[in-house]
């Protein structure tokens, strides 16, 4: 490379001469359309499940009184509030792609840390929540809720808890790996 400017211009020309398939924009657009449909369906499913839970809690609250009623009303309100929160978080996740690259990497690190925290909370808090729930189930009006003492329901709940714990441990390992990868890549940056 004798003449730096001339040689660099030659490299730039070679770089930019890489061909672009004619159908690239159409393929990108088609994939985005599929994703849009999938995202709308996911959001609708999440919202429907949350609202169904809220309706169930509200329905049970109708048969309760005192502290039990207050707990169920709070759960119903929490389920309703989770809908806009989930939508805002989802949107925030999307927009992070538009941040600067340094900002994006910082976002990846924050997301991995937060994800690790939630995953640990899942497999540690899940059994704790189940124990508290089991203790509450025998108290006051909660003992009158339908399904109490059902072996099938208990087995389903235990299986669900086991699957949830396994899944959150798996996610925790993934987030730990992501954090290690981010650290390793940072170490190689100039």
């Amino acid at each position: 490379m004798t003449d730096d400017g001339e040689e660099w211009a030659r490299l730039q020309a070679a770089w930019r001469a890489q061909p672009t398939p004619d159908d690239a924009p159409a393929r990108y657009r088609a994939r985005a359309a599929r994703e849009r449909r999938s995202a709308v369906a996911e959001a609708a499913l999440e919202s429907t499940l949350a609202l169904a839970c809220a309706a169930a809690f509200a329905w049970w609250a109708g048969d309760m009184a005192g502290v039990e009623r207050a707990i169920l009303i709070i759960l119903a309100l929490g389920a309703i509030a989770s809908v806009p929160v989930a939508l805002v978080l989802r949107r925030g996740l999307w927009q992070a792609y538009g941040d600067t690259m340094a900002g994006h990497v910082a976002f990846l690190r924050r997301r991995a840390r937060l994800g690790l925290w939630f995953a640990r909370f899942g497999y540690l808090g899940g059994p704790l929540g189940a124990a508290v729930g089991a203790a509450l189930a025998g108290l006051g009006d909660f003992a009158a809720l339908p399904g109490q003492g059902s072996g099938v329901l208990t087995a389903l709940l235990v299986a669900g808890l086991g699957a949830g714990c396994w899944w959150s441990m798996r996610k925790a390992r993934g987030f730990q790996r992501s954090l290690a990868e981010l650290q390793a890549a940072d170490a190689h940056d100039p």
């Binding site: 770089w15 890489q18 657009r29 999307w94 927009q95 792609y97 941040d99 690259m101 190689h188």
Partner: protein, 163 residues
């Protein structure tokens, strides 16, 4: 959702996306996946574009961000073979294709071999981005960009003179 920004980004900068991806992913199948991911990220991020930087800078930033996420995920996986751009088009003679694609192939492989921080800068300089645009895209100061550009050029120069 801002369809006009998304459509403009795809129509005007599809080539930029292709070239940025070539610098990060050597495997053709992996490249396709990354390009599709960039399209999704562009669609998702399009409402965030307020015109505070050029659309080209915005597209480059998103393309790099997705590539960075991609290489984080694929660090555990074995790397593919060297890039073979597969560049022949119907309009070119075989000897033209060979001459052009040899330099291109060596250049892409050299860029792909750079450390990530230099690779980001190198691809943007090769795309003829100004120092200010690179600083906007990377979230760095112009002085830091200047330093990285010089390092990237020196590293590329050293790799390109190797037989």
């Amino acid at each position: 959702m801002s369809p006009s920004v998304f459509d403009r980004a795809l129509e005007e900068h599809a080539g930029l996306i292709e070239r940025v991806v070539a610098a990060y992913e050597r495997n053709p199948v992996g490249r396709e996946d990354v390009k599709q991911d960039i399209a999704l990220a562009l669609w998702r991020a399009a409402p965030a574009w307020r015109g505070d930087c050029t659309l080209r800078t915005f597209v480059a930033r998103i393309a790099h961000n997705v590539c960075v996420s991609h290489i984080r995920r694929s660090l555990r996986e074995p790397r593919g073979d060297e890039v073979n751009p597969g560049l022949a088009s119907d309009a070119e003679r075989p000897d033209e294709v060979v001459a052009r694609s040899d330099l291109m192939r060596r250049l892409i492989n050299a860029v792909a071999a750079l450390p990530q921080g230099l690779r980001e800068v190198a691809t943007l300089v090769l795309e003829d981005f100004s120092t200010q645009e690179i600083a906007q895209a990377l979230g760095l100061s112009e002085a830091a960009v200047f330093t990285r550009v010089n390092r990237a050029k020196a590293a590329l120069r050293a790799m390109m003179v190797k037989p």
